[in-house]
Structures are given as C-alpha cells and as structure tokens.
Symmetry: C2
Subunit: 343 residues, 2 copies
C-alpha cells in the first residue's frame, strides 16, 4: 500500500526519500494517499483500534479528557512559498497540542483532516504528514485517525485529545489577586518572522524558523498544573490579548512589567534588518510590541499562588491584582492587541 516504504533507500533520510514521491494526489487517489499517510503514523499502545476503522478507540489513563480543534487554512495560516510542507505539519500539530497542555493535560492523540486540490503533489502531503507526526511525538501523542477531501485550497483540521491524568483542569478563570504571572516559551518570534518574510527576507533565521515551526513548551503545561497553577493559557493571539481572556474570566487585573520581559537578540536583529528601532516603545512596531502582541508562538502564560517556587523554565513577568483588564507598566496597552478572523 505504501510504495515508498518498500523502495530501497540507501544513505538518504526518510524525508529526502519521501520528497522524491512522484505525482499528484489526484493521480494517487484518496485510498492510496490514506494508505501512504497511515504508514507514516505509528500507532500507540493505548490505541485499541487505530487508523483504518470507522473511528479510533483509545484506552486513556483517566476518564476525564480534554479535547480541542484547530483549523489551518492555506493563505490564512500559511503560504506554500513561505513554509515547507513539514513546517505546516508542525504548525498544525503544535496549535492543538498547545491548547491541550494549557489545560494542564497530557496529550494523547491527534485526529487530522486534510482537504486539498487534486493537483497537490503527493510529496507535499507526505512531508506534511511526517512533520505532523513528528510534532505529535514531541508532544507525546500519536495520530490515530483522520479524513480527506478535495477542496480548492488546502484546509487542515487538527483535533487533539489529552488526559487530565487525575488532576483538575487549569482554566482561564482561576487567577486570584496576588498571584504571580509567568511565561514559558517563545514570545514575538513568529510575528517577527512573519514580518521578515513579508518584507522578502529569510534572515535572521531564528524568527523565520520560529514562524515556520512553533515549538510550544509541552512539558511545562502539566508541570505547571502539578505545581498548582491557578490559571493558564497558550499565547496564540498575543500576550496582552490572551492575558485579557484570563483577566476577564477570572475577574482580575493583570499587570505586566516589561522590564522583566527579556528581549531576545533575535528580535533586536530582526528589527534592525527591517529598519525598525530596536528600542521602539510598546505600540510602535519593534521587539517590545512583538513580545506583547505577537501570537502563534504558543508560549504558555500562567498564574501561580504567591510564594510558589516558579520553575526555572518560566520567567516571572508580573502580578495579578483586583480590578479588570491587562496593564503594561501600569497603563492600558495602546496598540492593536490581537488577531480576529473575517475582519
């Protein structure tokens, strides 16, 4: 069923071999493509029934489960000339896995829908699948099901299912005044990379790679839950916008101190490459605005009870107070604070 895996491959990586797969998915057909993709998806021991039946069946560690769906659309979330197919697979998996760990849950499985034009190269679909399976594995999950369809542009849906592993979920609604605010993972890098690509640049490489391949800190989510985090969110729309969701759901004010927010050299370099002032104030394009409003890196932001020994992979950047809204250095943030579809 999977012609690639039966072809002798000597001295080349699996991915290099995949990229030589000829033809379009229209020539291969749905069932051939499903077989080729499924061959790239190792099934976990928890899968009583894996890919190939009406539905997957999994024996999970706990009857309390978390589940989330994300869409990735060509021209909206990615461009084929900016991202390799494996990059798109990484991004598709990362978005949903980040939502799972932001509940404090442990990722278990992904279900993936792929709709695409019949002239899509088979190599694109298989490299996408490999990128997706690799990122799923990095998050501790496997791909156990999916669906395919034809369409005029590439549409991807990824559903992630996680186990609560005996813990209560960490929602957006649990932050209390005096809690410590901390973040872990990249901030602003994906947005800086997007700005570079939009300006026709592919360097500095750090932010461009970050745009192409988000790397959410999966282990930090369940670890924060075990440590007693009171609220948590993955930063998909931007730090200020996403903390705004916690502030609203918890009925609190959240203060960010930008002096505590480290500005990575990659962002300073990106600003310089784009002719921006690396020290621009919040609200003007530059590193600080990227840190505060850049989404898609899928960092985690969480609040912890005052006095919690915050693990070293987190950076403390502020505090929770009575009130409402998100304040940056004591003021309401002046700039645009997030992305909204359809507008």
């Amino acid at each position: 069923m999977d012609t690639v895996s039966h072809r002798p491959v000597i001295g080349r990586s699996q991915e290099a071999a995949i990229s030589t797969e000829p033809g379009t998915i229209g020539e291969l057909g749905e069932f051939g493509l499903i077989a080729a993709v499924a061959a790239r998806m190792p099934q976990p021991p928890s899968a009583i029934v894996g890919i190939g039946d009406d539905a997957a069946v999994l024996r999970l560690p706990d009857s309390a489960v978390t589940a989330t769906t994300d869409l990735i659309v060509e021209g909206v979330h990615f461009r084929r000339d900016w991202s390799a197919p494996a990059d798109v697979g990484v991004k598709a998996a990362a978005r949903s896995l980040a939502d799972v760990v932001a509940m404090g849950a442990v990722p278990q499985t992904l279900l993936v829908g792929l709709a695409a034009p019949p002239d899509l190269p088979v190599a694109w679909a298989l490299e996408f699948a490999s990128g997706l399976a690799g990122e799923a594995a990095r998050g501790g999950a496997s791909v156990t099901g999916g669906d395919m369809s034809s369409a005029t542009q590439i549409f991807i849906s990824v559903t992630a299912i996680g186990s609560m592993a005996g813990r209560e979920p960490v929602t957006r609604a649990g932050a209390h005044p005096s809690d410590t605010l901390a973040v872990t993972g990249r901030l602003g890098q994906s947005t800086a990379g997007f700005a570079l690509l939009e300006a026709g640049r592919t360097s500095p490489a750090g932010p461009v790679d970050a745009y192409r391949r988000p790397a959410p800190p999966y282990q930090s989510g369940p670890a924060a839950a075990a440590l007693g985090a009171t609220a948590m969110i993955d930063v998909s729309d931007g730090l200020v916008a996403d903390l705004g969701h916690i502030a609203a759901a918890s009925g609190v004010r959240i203060d960010i101190e930008t002096a505590r927010l480290p500005v990575p050299p990659a962002l300073t370099d990106a600003a310089a490459a784009l002719g921006l002032d690396p020290a621009a104030r919040a609200g003007s394009p530059g590193p600080l605005s990227w840190l505060l409003t850049g989404g898609e890196d899928h960092a985690l932001a969480a609040t912890f009870p005052f006095g919690t020994q915050i693990p070293t992979d987190w950076v403390v950047i502020g505090r929770v107070h009575p009130g409402r809204g998100v304040y940056v250095d004591g003021m309401n943030y002046p700039g645009m604070i997030g992305w909204q579809h359809f507008r």
Copy 2:
C-alpha cells in the same frame, strides 16, 4: 452576546427568528460569531469545562473512548443552493456521529471547525449551528468546542468523541463465516435524492430530504454491540464498498441476497421521476443500484453470530462465508462500488 435570544419572538419558531439575523460574518467578526454560536450550544453536565477555554474538559463514563473526524466541503459535500444551512449542520454532525455508533460506542461530544468567506451571512452560520446542535442532541451528544477561520469556500470539520461504555469496540475485523449480515437505516435514498437534485427536481420529497438530512440510526449501534455484533460499519461510501472493508479486514466473503433487500417506494418513485427503469438490474442506474452503491445515508451494516435473535429494526440481507470479497446474488458486483476523493 446573543442578540437573537434577547429579542422578543412571538408566534415564530426559533429558526425563523434566527434567519432574520442581519449582516455578514465579516461585519460581526470572529468573536461575535463565536459568542452567537456558543449561545446555541447547550453544555452537558459531563463538561467540566465547556466552550470558551483553550480546550473542553469532559468527565466521560469510561476511560476507553472513541474518536473520529470528518470533513464537509462546499461544492464537494454540499451546495448552498441545494441544502439549507441547517441541513448542512445536520449532515456534518451525522457523518461523525454515525462513525462513533458504528464502533458500538455512545456519542458524547462534538468539536466543530468552520472556515468560511467573510461575506457569509450571519444567518447561514447560526442556522448551520442550530442544525448541528439539534442533530448532536438526537445522537445524545453536545458541542463543547470548535474553531473558526476565514477561507474562500465553506469548510467544516466535525470531530465526534464517544464512550465505549464498558464494552469492547465492534471493529471491521470480527466477522466470521456463518455470521448473519443485517442492515438498519436508509439505503440508497441520499444518492437518489442527489440524482433528483442534479436533474433539477425537488420531488419526490423523500429522497431529496434524505440527501439533505441523513438520519443515521444512532441507538442501533450500541444496541448491536450489546447484542454481540461481530463487525459493524456505517454505510458512507455504499453498501457493497463498505461491506468490502469488513470482508477485507475480517478475511471473509460476504454475500448479499438482493431478494431480501426491500426496495422502498420512494426509490421506485424517484426512478420513475428520472425516467429510469424501476426494475433495472444491479449495475444499471435505478433503485437496486442505489441500494447497493449509494452512500451518505449512514445506515449501519453489521454481522451477528449465527442464531442471534436480530432486533426488528434490522433487516437480515445475507450471510458471511469463508473466502474474500463481496458477492451480490452469488456474483461479484458489476458496477462502480464507491466514491473516492481527488479522482
């Protein structure tokens, strides 16, 4: 958040009220649309965390869960001029729910992705959501999460999660020689309805309605599992094609006796309306071919150990034998046996 539900509505159904919602989703914006849709989605008691956080969290009856994803794409699975938005919602929910019950599982929740052009009327999105929520309820499930995006055509993903309720899954691989083959639910009606719509007709109404709103027999899936069904599948691609999956996975031959397959008057009427011979042989367009190869009604086909008292909602249509493939009245089926995307 939901302006419709706060508007006085006298002497009109909720759906009629919804359809007066003005504007496009581009004018309303993503967050407004999410709020309006969420207001139509009652959250179940099992939802520890429902719509509005990073992910839903559910307390399920069993740690063994089943999960499946299906895609519905405008122009591929539906046309806006052939199906009302609520019809599309019903179809989207039904496809995934049918996969869950075909494992013998009990549906618990749906997660829904909707990508659409910004000029989509808000009324379309809300009626779609109502149709989807209604069909989810008919299947015993609730919608607890989702995602939205802009796109150039309407693209819908539905993930259904079910509980095994303490039973083993009924896969495609368990059929044994001497097992009884039975089906429950509509067969061929959706395909007949599609043929009528393609010919510019909207009557007879039965098949056209069946095309627009599939009605899978949700309760029959878990009931068959409880009765000891050895293999089960939902008929999404066509009876012969889908029984072919059971035959292949189980390593058996499956025989269908067409004399046992009731031909509903609706199919005879549809054939007459289309100028087809209502008694056409298998392989030529007409009622018998629709019954054998028509998909999308999401009937259930199952095998039961010889001697099982088959419940009255099922029709016995054949038997399992040693060998391979699917035979119709003792012969390999002559016609096209199913749908394949991209080709």
